[in-house]
């Protein structure tokens, strides 16, 4: 897909429309009649407003300055100007959408747009009752399993838009061949916890619920920032490290990752905070032991059917016993099979943060009821 003619219609249209967008985006004037709206926390998208026209750009998380998608959002209640190229236009509100991940359909449910969701993926792992019921009733279908798209069913849905997590090779190639409009959703590259939640605003634009989306996000941001402010004054910041070896490989969250941000905001000192990685990276267990042996807390997320214990952990690797956090029974545990951690926490960073604060600094949140994390018994 090419967008080389993209700016001409914008300029043309800007003559006719000179309204301004009202939203909680940061405003940034570019030229007459145009407003570049950058999100407050997210870095993965931006919106250029021109009257009723919204130019939505999804930025490449890898190449600075390049975009994965640029779409023109136009209200379908208005006549479509001839100058708008059809293939790059999304008529809003979108009525028929395939949302492949929970961070896409989750906010749609929050916006009350259940009925427009026609397709999801990996339904085996979905915990959400609304989606499960819709799957059961046939109101929506599963269009991808184990990373492989069921292209025929997907095409047959004739969705207005497919939201997908950008992934290399065949997957996006076969999606592209479907002729369906695709919108990349690289929200998981946001390292700011609020940035990930802020993607609800993109959905707000798509379904013409901008105001409601902004309200939801603003209240999340308010709670989050309030909690974050609480830890500013703590005298002592406990040391924390995270995760464990899996199949011989121990991936630790990068020093600039989402998890590292949460640790910092929760008033903890992440042992690898000096690291510059944005994603998880592999380290050998001895290096981790050397750095984290005396750390106060150890955070582990794992899916288990049973009541996970310290003994279960030590059975996986005797070396785990050497960690002080293990000896002092200070492991912060999230059972991803019993909580909706993967599904919901990206949209509820304030609850995630509260969990950590309540454990690391109990005096700050004495009445907090744990949502995802508890101290492992």
């Amino acid at each position: 897909m090419t967008y080389k003619n993209g700016l001409l219609p914008i300029l043309f249209l800007s003559i006719f429309f000179s309204f301004s967008c009202k939203s909680s985006f940061q405003e940034n004037k570019i030229s007459a009649g145009e407003e570049l709206k950058l999100p407050d926390y997210a870095i993965g998208f931006s919106v250029l407003c021109k009257g009723n026209l919204r130019q939505l750009s999804i930025h490449s998380p890898w190449n600075n300055g390049s975009n994965l998608n640029v779409y023109y959002l136009w209200p379908d209640s208005l006549p479509i100007p001839d100058s708008l190229r059809l293939e790059t236009v999304i008529l809003t509100p979108v009525r028929n959408i395939v949302a492949l991940s929970a961070t896409q359909w989750g906010p749609l449910l929050k916006l009350g747009m259940d009925s427009i969701i026609k397709g999801v993926s990996e339904s085996r792992f979905i915990q959400n009752e609304t989606i499960k019921n819709m799957l059961k009733s046939g109101a929506l279908i599963d269009v991808a399993a184990d990373g492989v798209y069921k292209m025929e069913q997907l095409v047959k849905l004739e969705p207005d838009l497919v939201l997908y997590s950008p992934d290399p090779m065949g997957i996006s190639s076969s999606l592209q061949r479907s002729g369906i409009k695709l919108l990349a959703w690289p929200d998981y590259f946001e390292t700011n916890p609020l940035g990930r939640a802020e993607w609800i605003k993109v959905l707000g634009l798509l379904v013409q619920k901008e105001v409601k989306a902004n309200q939801i996000f603003d209240s999340i941001a308010l709670s989050y920032n309030h909690l974050k402010a609480l830890t500013k004054t703590v005298a002592e910041k406990p040391q924390i490290f995270a995760d464990k070896a899996f199949a011989g490989q121990w991936y630790v969250p990068g020093g600039k990752s989402y998890m590292a941000e949460i640790f910092k905001d929760a008033g903890a000192n992440y042992v690898f905070s000096d690291n510059n990685e944005h994603a998880s990276f592999p380290l050998d267990i001895e290096t981790i032991l050397a750095k984290s042996k005396n750390a106060d807390y150890w955070r582990i997320a794992q899916a288990t059917d049973f009541e996970y214990s310290y003994e279960d952990l030590a059975r996986e690797n005797e070396l785990y016993r050497a960690f002080e956090a293990f000896k002092n029974k200070r492991i912060i545990f999230c059972n991803t099979a019993k909580t909706a951690y993967f599904e919901q926490s990206p949209m509820e960073p304030h609850l995630l943060l509260a969990d950590f604060i309540a454990i690391l600094h109990p005096e700050l949140l004495p009445d907090h009821i744990p949502v995802y994390h508890t101290i492992l018994r």
Partner: protein, 352 residues
């Protein structure tokens, strides 16, 4: 009399194979997780499009048709590559993957994944559609690299058994390097590599189909031109040389043709197992012949038909296209190979 009966039998068999191939191709167009009527398929294939919903047009034109064509040509090409190698090495268990050519393709892809990750510090995904073309080129480069290595080794190593062992060793080394690369790769790219490794005929889009068909056809035509030397090679190197064949020269040509076919197909469809190994044996047993004038065309047809059949199974309702085709070809191909080994054992004990 005897000759005429034999000829009639071969003719009937060949005719039925072609018929079966056409039926299977049609079934591949008709059969999918979404049910589309014969009339719709017919309308789209004849270009009239009358009364066909746009979704159905896309499904047939962009997915079912390219997939069926890819399966047809990939199956024909892999089967012929297997036949060439079995005759070249005079080893019934030789096939494209045994010489390490498929492993070379995997190595190429893995190297691409790692090098982009190392150079830019980013996952390959960042390059969008370029990554798709990149994977095809990388797989091709890897396969050709192993091929050149094998060709050089074949000049050095006096006999074919050593070369076969060298091929297996190359495959091991390539596999080991892939393992190391996997360790350093980005998680997202690793996922992509795993998916590619499952093999699929859905990677080739309608726009790439012409190139794919031309490339595979070149290999198939080359193999048709090699029928006479192939028949001579069956006698063994010395007899072939005595009968005027420049054996070393043709060994190189056979390696190149078989390698080229494997490289192109692996690049587009990922590693597809057992077609190259099993189909030539099916053709030999069916036509009860080792004459390449008969084997080359029958291997092409049976290879295409069997692969279309496997692709059909992978898309059976219930699997909904998510079943990796490589599992199906292995499930069908492996028993064929076992059957061949048992049959050979029996033949040997009978002749002894």
């Amino acid at each position: 009399m005897e000759v005429q009966k034999k000829f009639r039998r071969s003719f009937i068999l060949m005719f039925s194979s072609v018929f079966l191939l056409l039926i299977l191709f049609l079934l591949n167009l008709l059969w999918g997780s979404v049910s589309i009527s014969f009339n719709d398929v017919f309308a789209v294939m004849t270009g009239s499009y009358e009364g066909v919903s746009s979704a159905n047009i896309i499904i047939i034109e962009q997915f079912r048709f390219p997939q069926a064509v890819t399966a047809t040509f990939a199956g024909a090409g892999l089967a012929v590559a297997g036949l060439l190698m079995q005759t070249l090495f005079r080893n019934p268990l030789a096939d494209p993957s045994i010489l390490g050519i498929s492993a070379g393709a995997s190595l190429g892809v893995a190297l691409l994944l790692l090098s982009t990750g190392m150079v830019s510090g980013q996952a390959l995904i960042s390059f969008g559609w370029i990554s798709h073309v990149g994977i095809i080129l990388a797989s091709f480069a890897g396969a050709m690299l192993v091929l050149v290595l094998i060709t050089i080794l074949s000049k050095r190593l006096m006999n074919m058994v050593s070369l076969l062992i060298a091929g297996i060793m190359i495959a091991y080394v390539a596999g080991a390097i892939v393992g190391i690369i996997k360790y350093f790769s980005h998680k997202e790219d690793l996922h992509a590599f795993v998916i590619w490794g499952l093999g699929s005929f859905s990677n080739v889009g309608l726009s790439q189909i012409p190139f794919f068909i031309i490339a595979v056809s070149l290999g198939l035509i080359a193999s048709v031109l090699l029928m006479k030397p192939l028949n001579l090679m069956l006698l063994g190197e010395k007899y072939a040389r005595n009968l005027g064949l420049n054996v070393k020269h043709y060994q190189t040509i056979l390696l190149l043709v078989a390698g080229f076919l494997t490289a192109v197909i692996t690049a587009y469809a990922g590693p597809i197992a057992f077609i190259g190994l099993a189909v030539p044996h099916l053709a030999r047993n069916l036509f009860r012949s080792s004459d390449h004038k008969l084997l080359i065309p029958s291997t092409i047809i049976i290879g295409a038909a069997l692969t279309l059949f496997c692709n059909l199974i992978a898309r059976l309702p219930g699997f909904e296209g998510s079943l990796p085709v490589n599992s199906i070809t292995s499930l069908i191909g492996a028993p064929v190979v076992v059957w061949i080994i048992i049959k050979r054992q029996q033949l040997y004990s009978r002749s002894a």
